[in-house]
Symmetry: C2
Subunit: 397 residues, 2 copies
């Protein structure tokens, strides 16, 4: 018998995508499904950056440099400078999405069996990259009661073992929308300094902060060697399909090692590098409109949720996600029921059950993640559905 | 001290790219460098497929399906049908280049410590993907004397251990250009059947065969469950920068497992999927001109090489590479010397030392790989340089 690898078997299916067949069945029945389940923004990709690709003029679609086109990396230096991050172009390796930046970081810094501490709930695909790299995810729990603030130092220290090599944060956070304060970032700095750990920082949602300015892990003096920034243009410019991200670090050893992984896969995609390069030249106020739109959506969503009996939803400081606690028995069952057995005025809503975002078994059973990637009108209709669903759902608590 | 992972340290630097700084230095001195070192074709990407991207009309650059756009996968079914390979669209997972197909295949089928037998010399980046996946490459040697034909069954069987899980071939071969015959493919079938192994088949150069029709591993009845095809559009349509490939198999278990790795990284690049989809509609005679061009180049290169005293170059049956044995002490030194210390009429040539393509230490020391990706005029000039260099090189043998 041919066998799969253990990691092939261990590899978790995407908790967000597993409900897709139920959504497809609902649509076949003629039910309109509001997708609050995935982080695919409906914001239009800026016309000038799409035009940069459409008007590109070359004869051969060549491999780029394995670290990405130098012209793009030099442009990115300008982008980071505006974001208050001082680096040079040799400290950037352009990756195939933020996904590859995370995988490369794990591969270069962590051995099979090493541990990375991640505040939970966390972006579910971290599990996938960890399985691919043979790395163990150790969750440290953040709570809906504190709005998913950084857990106290003591909680981290309880989890640190000789195998612990890194802490991974996502800031502002997917799935909670939490924005870490300067104090929390300083706390993280203390921990990684004291225990000599890498600090992996996923800052995919940097531009979407509503309650203050984000503090990048790259802005913490004294731990320059520890910090590896994992970035992506996917959400920033609504360019998810381009598959362009970046791994940024001042640690020369890490850069050299990541570069070897980058060389093995030859180069990141060429078309979307053209897009990314053009995007740096968007006017400084480009994000204002997008941010204002997300803010309006966030306010609508959070207000509607907290008005529903038994529902709690902390006000997220950034990104375009919110986590809500619902008066239900099991969010996996509830989300499936919404698609399989419920509709309201011919409509229903697709949510992401929170269990897939927790590393600790049993947590998140009455929580869901909502991505506010629809306009306010659709969001309100989706909330009408949810409000009615919570009245009808047989597994109410 | 922060430490790199062992695999981060083990990861081999690209043997092809390590001479790049010497080439850059030569160019700064004003020397023209003919690049026969990398498989970046100079053939123009077909205008209609670039136009498909340039005229694409969408508002949001969205994630595609994790397995690739269904419309593209359905088109690919037509492409494979023309190539004599019968599959349906659910048996295709579109990947980020052939690179990702290889990595996914290793990840899903092989565990850390498992062994994959690969005829050497082989595509050097297989080493990189093996290190990333923790898999051990076991080389089985093919020789320049037999034109790099498949080693005899006995040579494979000597290497098979309980850890052996797969054989990986590249057909037609990079770096040797060797095209496996039907008999050789049947031999491989016998081995994988008898020892219950996966047969990974990298068929990136399928369209470029000069001495006969290629036999795909997908065309071997009886081992449908064993075969995993690792494919790419990079060379086929001179679209290396697009980063689009595919993993194709009839093994449902493998598909399901690979799909989980594909979901973790969300989706393959969107722009180049548009290109790939349009490419299937190129006229059936599209490859005729490209193939005729490569054939002319191959004939020029092989003739010129074999006319040089002490040089042996078997006539490759496919791809656009040739391996030559040179009367030199050490091809690493020679290739560096060509860039650092030699020029002829203000020109020199960059070659790939063969040592990087062998898994067995010490082999390939007097061999180089030449990629005939330049026009006949430039190839002749490059051969003029090589001919003169072999007269002047101090490490002659």
């Amino acid at each position: 018998m041919l066998t799969l690898s253990s990691r092939g078997q261990l590899m978790p299916p995407s908790p967000i995508r597993k409900l897709v067949p139920f959504a497809e069945a609902a649509k076949k029945k003629g039910v309109k499904v509001f997708h609050l389940n995935i982080g695919q923004p409906d914001i239009e990709t800026p016309q000038p950056v799409l035009d940069a690709v459409r008007h590109s003029d070359f004869k051969v679609l060549e491999y780029s440099h394995s670290a990405g086109n130098e012209s793009y990396r030099r442009k990115l230096v300008q982008y980071y400078k505006k974001a208050g991050i001082e680096i040079d172009h040799t400290q950037i390796i352009v990756t195939t999405g933020g996904s590859e930046a995370i995988l490369f970081g794990f591969m270069a810094c962590l051995d099979v069996g090493d541990e990375v501490i991640i505040p939970e709930p966390f972006y579910a695909n971290y599990n996938g990259f960890a399985v691919a790299a043979g790395v163990k995810v150790v969750p440290v729990t953040s709570n809906i009661e504190t709005g998913f603030a950084l857990p106290p130092i003591a909680d981290f220290e309880k989890l640190i073992t000789p195998k612990t090599k890194a802490i991974l944060i996502c800031n502002p956070n997917n799935p909670t929308g939490y924005l870490y304060s300067r104090e929390e970032m300083e706390t993280l700095k203390q921990i990684v300094q004291k225990h000599n750990l890498y600090l992996f920082s996923d800052e995919a949602y940097r531009e979407f902060c509503y309650t203050g300015e984000p503090v990048s892990a790259m802005q913490l003096p004294g731990i320059e060697e520890n910090v590896v920034l994992m970035d992506t243009i996917s959400k920033r410019y609504s360019a998810c399909g381009g598959r362009i991200g970046a791994l940024v670090t001042k640690n020369k050893q890490v850069l050299d090692s990541v570069m070897k992984f980058a060389q093995a896969r030859l180069s990141p995609p060429s078309f979307a590098q053209i897009l990314g390069e053009a995007a740096v030249d968007l006017p400084d106020n480009y994000f204002d409109a997008t941010k204002a739109e997300y803010l309006k959506r966030r306010n609508t969503l959070v207000k509607r949720l907290n008005e529903m009996p038994g529902v709690t939803c902390p006000n997220p400081g950034g990104a375009f996600y919110a986590m809500a606690r619902l008066p239900i028995d099991d969010s996996d069952k509830f989300c499936q029921w919404l698609l399989e057995s419920f509709s309201y005025n011919g409509q229903t809503v697709m949510l992401a059950p929170a269990s897939g975002f927790y590393g600790t078994a049993g947590l998140g059973k009455n929580e869901v993640r909502l991505a506010y990637v629809l306009n306010v009108g659709d969001l309100n209709s989706a909330m009408d559905c949810l409000q009615q669903a919570l009245k009808e759902y047989p597994g109410k608590k």
